[in-house]
Structures are given as structure tokens and as C-alpha cells.
Amino acid sequence: MKIRVLYFASVREKLGKDAEEMDLPAGIATIAGLRSHLQARGGAWAEALADGRLLRTAVNQDMAQPAAAIKPGDEVAFFPPVTGG
């Protein structure tokens, strides 16, 4: 399943990457699953996306919970809690 993944703010800085196209292995169908998959890259990925770290996620530009499903072609984003205004 091909998806696009975006990273913002402190997450982007820690990973040294702002976006990537990914072809997900079968069996990964939720945000939580994707996060675990990315953590498994180790190093900065394990650290920036660690379970204990408070992150927000969006699917197709709507805020989404960890259990939210991912479909082919989706745009998934990882970022810290927002601080605008």
C-alpha cells in the first residue's frame, strides 16, 4: 500500500526529513501500526516517534487518533501538539 508521510516541526527536525513516499508492508493498516513500523527504523526514528512522546497525527489533513485506518494513497502526518495563535 503506497502512502505519503509528512513530518512537521520538532519531529521533522529530529528526523531530518519532511516527507516521504512509502510502500507499507501488508498488515499495517492504522496510524499506530505505521508509527511502530517507523520506530523500528531505529536511531532518530525510535527516539522521535517513541511511544512515550506526545504526538498528534492527521490523515488526509484531518486530526486522527492512533486507531484510525490508513488507505492506499492517504497522506499521513506526524507532529507535536500545536502551538499557534
Binding site: F8, A9, A58, Q61, A77, V82, G84, G85
Partner: protein, 150 residues
């Protein structure tokens, strides 16, 4: 309704005037947020930002009479005292205008994908999200009663 995410500064007077044309409008409440203390850089998620603000405005319209509304949020590099954000709400009466303006601002702070990075004397640091902002947004939960104060 106008939502703009932009680098450029804005003019409060011009923005208020732009939403005051309808003769049924009796009140415009506006809020302008400024950069406090230190220079900062604002990053956002293009596309989602406009979408998230649009949803907040739509939510406000289900709760109060919102006859027109402008939300402008800047990004990029800003210095102390620069304007960051404008929310202006036009309504028939002040109760709805005040409430909708504050609601939009409170929700924007917790739901619109912006991130501030401050340039402090000790170096650059990302601003941490504040619990008080979540609490400010949370207090609107279930608050749907329209206030009609003329």
C-alpha cells in the same frame, strides 16, 4: 468568510471594514494576537491549516449567529510586537460576536497545525503546548446556547 494563512502583515481596520457591509450586522468582535518577548518562526501544515480553521469557523456557525468572519494567521519569521493572528466576527449582536470570536481563537490554539519556534538568547527552542490552552478549548464543550444581548 475569509481564511488566510500568509507571511504578510494585516490591517485590523481594513479587515473589520471588509466584513461590516451588511446592514443587519450590529456587532463586530475582533482579536489580534501579537508576538510576545522574543523573535520566533512559525511553521504550519499547508492545506491542513486552512482546512482546520475552516472547520472551526463552521463549528462556530452552528453555535452562534456568525454573519461574516475573517481569520488571518501569519507564518514565517516574526519579531516581538508583530501581529500573528486576527479573528474578526460579525453578528447581529455583541453576545454572539464576542462568544464566537473567543471560541474560534481557543479552538485555533489547539486544533490548527501551527508550531512556534522561539529564538531565545540561549538558542532556538520549540514552544511547548500548554495545558491551559487545552482547558480553554475544553470549556466550550456542550456550550451551544446562543447569547442574544442587544
Amino acid at each position: 468568510m475569509r481564511i488566510s494563512v500568509q507571511r504578510e502583515d494585516f490591517d485590523l481596520g481594513a479587515e473589520v471594514k471588509a466584513i461590516s457591509g451588511n446592514p443587519r450586522i450590529g456587532a463586530i468582535a475582533s482579536f489580534v494576537g501579537l508576538v510576545r518577548d522574543v523573535p520566533m518562526t512559525l511553521e504550519h501544515y499547508p492545506g491542513m491549516t486552512e482546512r482546520a480553521i475552516g472547520k472551526i469557523v463552521e463549528e462556530a456557525k452552528t453555535r452562534w449567529q456568525v454573519m461574516d468572519c475573517t481569520v488571518i494567521h501569519r507564518y514565517g519569521t516574526l519579531k516581538p510586537n508583530d501581529q500573528i493572528v486576527l479573528v474578526a466576527v460579525a453578528s447581529g449582536h455583541r453576545g454572539d460576536a464576542f462568544a464566537a470570536c473567543e471560541f474560534i481563537m481557543d479552538y485555533l490554539k489547539t486544533r490548527a497545525p501551527f508550531w512556534k519556534k522561539e529564538q531565545t538568547p540561549e538558542g532556538a527552542r520549540w514552544v511547548e503546548a500548554k495545558d491551559v490552552d487545552d482547558e480553554a478549548a475544553e470549556r466550550w464543550r456542550g456550550f451551544t446556547q446562543s447569547r442574544r444581548i442587544s
